[in-house]
Symmetry: C2
Subunit: 195 residues, 2 copies
């Protein structure tokens, strides 16, 4: 009788505590690798996002001559889309900097679920913001380069060449940051799997 009770106790202890522990230790190495890659990818995304915001924010060109239709000076301030781009990419870059401590926590404790859920949810928000800002700025940069004959919008890049180059560079940087965020989200998705 005493033996039988002993068996039941040990079984329930295994079901509660030990069985999940076995599964966790097996995949800790795999998850730690993902967490380290996540941290490095995050560093790359920070550089790209802040480069995009900085390049766009400092884009300004003053022309040495005056024409009938165009002003002397072109700046990102003149186009609301570019202002949105600077704000959105600053938010993305700022969020990514703030997310670094959580990423470090995940390197130290790869099986922690709460910081992982938080990061993946905010990463998706950052990715959406980044894609919207990148797409919007790309649409305006395209118009600046090519103009549109139907709407009678002239290509301003013929006058403001340096301005357009800086702005185009910022859009490319935002696309790099978006690609890094896609990888971050997919990676977190795999890390959230339990097996």
């Amino acid at each position: 009788m005493s033996t039988t009770i002993d068996i039941t106790e040990e079984t329930s202890a295994v079901a509660k505590g030990k069985a999940p522990l076995i599964a966790t230790t097996t995949y800790t190495g795999y998850k730690k690798g993902i967490a380290i890659f996540d941290f490095l990818l995050r560093l790359g995304a920070i550089v790209a996002a802040l480069a995009a915001a900085g390049t766009m924010g400092s884009s300004e060109q003053t022309l040495p001559f005056f024409t009938q239709f165009f002003q002397f000076r072109a700046s990102y301030d003149d186009l609301p889309t570019f202002q949105f781009f600077v704000i959105a990419m600053s938010i993305v870059g700022g969020y990514l900097v703030l997310s670094l401590p959580f990423s470090i926590v995940l390197i130290i404790r790869p099986s922690a679920v709460a910081p992982k859920m938080l990061l993946v949810a905010l990463d998706i928000v950052a990715l959406t913001l980044n894609a919207a800002a990148g797409g919007a700025a790309a649409a305006v940069v395209y118009l600046a380069h090519n103009g549109n004959s139907s709407a009678n919008w002239l290509a301003i890049c013929q006058q403001f060449g340096d301005f357009c180059q800086k702005v185009s560079g910022a859009v490319v940087a935002s696309f790099i940051s978006a690609v890094a965020l896609v990888f971050l989200v997919v990676l977190s998705g795999f890390a959230l799997r339990r097996h």
Copy 2:
């Protein structure tokens, strides 16, 4: 001696098979609820995405009069950003239709992991495409409504009022579809959690 061996066998059987099964059956109802909500949200996103593509694709206005600077006719074909918008939103809508069978599979078998992983990965791609298309079209629609004095781009909406209203409606529909996709991705993230 014989009793001790018996204990070990039963313990390992519990660790391998029974402990995970207990966790799965407890959360099946919760996961089925998420799967049904996922399906309904997907139906809403399909309507919004296809409405966005259809409204933009049918946006066309022919003016009854002629001015010096503007053509008679405005169509989404005239602006490459709007062409991209129609293509991108059609892809998003088409993907969402094709994803319905997988969503039904998840209602029937809420604990299946493979279709869930597939859906969440493709949902993120669709969300990114949707955000980029919506952002790009919104930037051009803003220019069409307000113009830009620095770039000397006139507001074409003063001439093409009906065209602008249709195009603005399409952008709003794409934002609704983007919000639905955000919820779908977050929901799938929660469903992928094992506990």
